[in-house]
């Protein structure tokens, strides 16, 4: 059976590892490389590394750093931030990314998703969607690190990116981000209900129970989290043990440990 993944997210800004609240008030929480090494040693299911200022600063992704990160990373690595075109994607894949996450550029040029999926295969194209709740209780997609409204309702945009060939959706609630108050289950359900591709829930995880709910109630294929791992004693491995005792299929920890010995 396909396992639910628990994915630490590393947000990266000017060589530092940061974490904010509601896509704001960024706090420095370390440097990227040691974090990658630790997660690698602990054999996490997957890692997401996002350069949160690349798009703002109009920079291309920092291939050299990605190259260094990936050299230490023997678990699947998704990289995002500042991805504008096919050339950026090709360079990131060559720098060692297993999957590339596209966000802002997809709104300006949805064809990029189709072209990228045709060229590199859907399986390595992740579309990252940042959504905020509107006054009417709906959800609107925001680009540029959660700052620019796009006018697109989240469910129709999710459907569109899937039709264009996205292989996965990384779905983040901007309001819940960094609050550790739980995932926005309504938001996740809105997208998973019609999705034929995997959805990674993100934004708000504060406890293992939150992860359990995102999986069992909102049907996501993976849970991404940052603050819970940066600011509390909770770990991805303990999260999986919790999920496992609640009958969620996670990567078989026992077999892994047999091979470790």
């Amino acid at each position: 059976m396909l396992k639910v993944r628990v994915i630490p997210t590393l947000l990266w800004k000017e060589f530092g590892l940061v974490k904010g609240v509601g896509f704001d008030s960024w706090r420095r929480v370390g440097t990227v490389m040691p974090a990658i090494k630790v997660y690698n040693t602990r054999q996490v299911d997957e890692l997401i590394v996002l350069d949160i200022t690349a798009t703002f600063e109009g920079r291309v992704p920092d291939y050299e750093s990605i190259n260094e990160f990936s050299a230490e990373c023997f678990v699947p690595l998704t990289v995002g931030g500042g991805v504008r075109n096919l050339e950026d994607i090709k360079n990131l894949l060559r720098a060692g990314a297993d999957k590339v996450s596209i966000n802002s550029a997809a709104y300006d040029n949805p064809r990029l998703i189709r072209e990228a999926a045709d060229k590199f295969g859907s399986q390595c194209i992740v579309v990252s969607i940042d959504a905020r709740k509107t006054a009417g209780g709906e959800y609107e997609c925001f680009s540029h690190c959660g700052t620019r409204p796009t006018g697109k309702p989240v469910d129709s945009w999710a459907g569109e990116v899937e039709r264009l060939g996205a292989g996965e959706i990384l779905l983040t609630s901007v309001e819940r981000d960094g609050t550790m108050q739980g995932y926005d289950l309504h938001l996740i359900k809105k997208v998973t209900r019609n999705a034929g591709i995997p959805v990674i829930a993100s934004g708000g995880a504060g406890s293992y129970q939150d992860m359990y709910e995102a999986i069992s109630v909102a049907n996501c294929s993976a849970v991404a989290a940052a603050s819970i791992f940066h600011f509390t004693q909770q770990t991805p491995m303990e999260a999986k043990k919790f999920l496992s005792t609640h009958r969620i299929a996670v990567r078989n920890v026992n077999i892994q440990s047999i091979l470790t010995e």
Binding site: D45, S70, F74, P76, L93, D118, F120
Partner: protein, 204 residues
């Protein structure tokens, strides 16, 4: 042990190179098919579509070179992910396209059996080795490996199946015949069990 990783322009080569080095191999990433002459092992990696993969292999002059290395020189060859699929006779991603023809069979899209089965098949899933291939020596039934793909190779002959995975019914997650092997999962991204498989490949 000298391993040549085929660089045909599409793949993430860093992690496969590093994992083979961790297993003690001397690794050369090469875009020159002549490199196969001095190889004791060949790894064909791959990310991308079948059509693009074959176009790039042709462009790089790899097709005949790989066929000779595998069929005549009998150099052990391991295809990973798209690299496994390209071993087949034909693929159906991006048109109906001839493959390398090193392992009889064809490549088709996975068909979900329920809404819960999303495509691409992304993440950790079990493999069940058929027990006869030394590629999986020491790998227990049900070990988790990392997958990320939408297509799968359907071998023509049952005895080329060396592992299966329960998804979309049950698909063939590894093939092998003689010195030619293919794995649909990514051993270089599968932690210790992955290293174990690469180690087995080096020690065939």
């Amino acid at each position: 042990m000298s391993v040549v990783i085929v660089d045909y322009g599409l793949s993430n080569l860093g992690s496969i190179r590093r994992s083979l080095e961790e297993c003690g191999a001397t690794v050369r990433v090469s875009d020159d098919p002549k490199a196969l002459r001095t190889a004791s092992r060949v790894v064909l990696p791959g990310v991308g579509s079948f059509a693009d993969g074959m176009v790039n292999l042709r462009k790089g002059g790899w097709v005949t070179a790989l066929q000779e290395a595998a069929k005549e020189e009998k150099i052990p060859l391991l295809g990973i992910c798209l690299g496994m699929q390209l071993l087949a006779d034909r693929g159906h991603e991006g048109g109906d396209i001839p493959g390398l023809g090193l392992l009889p069979g064809e490549v088709r899209r996975l068909e979900p059996h329920s809404h819960a089965e999303k495509i691409p098949h992304v993440g950790w899933n079990e493999i069940y080795p058929s027990g006869k291939s030394s590629l999986f020596n020491g790998i227990p039934d049900g070990s988790d490996f990392y997958f990320v793909h939408s297509y799968h190779l359907i071998p023509k002959y049952k005895d080329h199946v060396i592992a299966t995975t329960p998804y979309c019914g049950r698909f063939v997650s590894a093939v092998g015949t003689g010195n030619i092997f293919g794995v649909q999962f990514h051993p270089e991204k599968s932690g210790r069990p992955g290293f174990h498989v690469l180690d087995n490949f080096l020690n065939l």
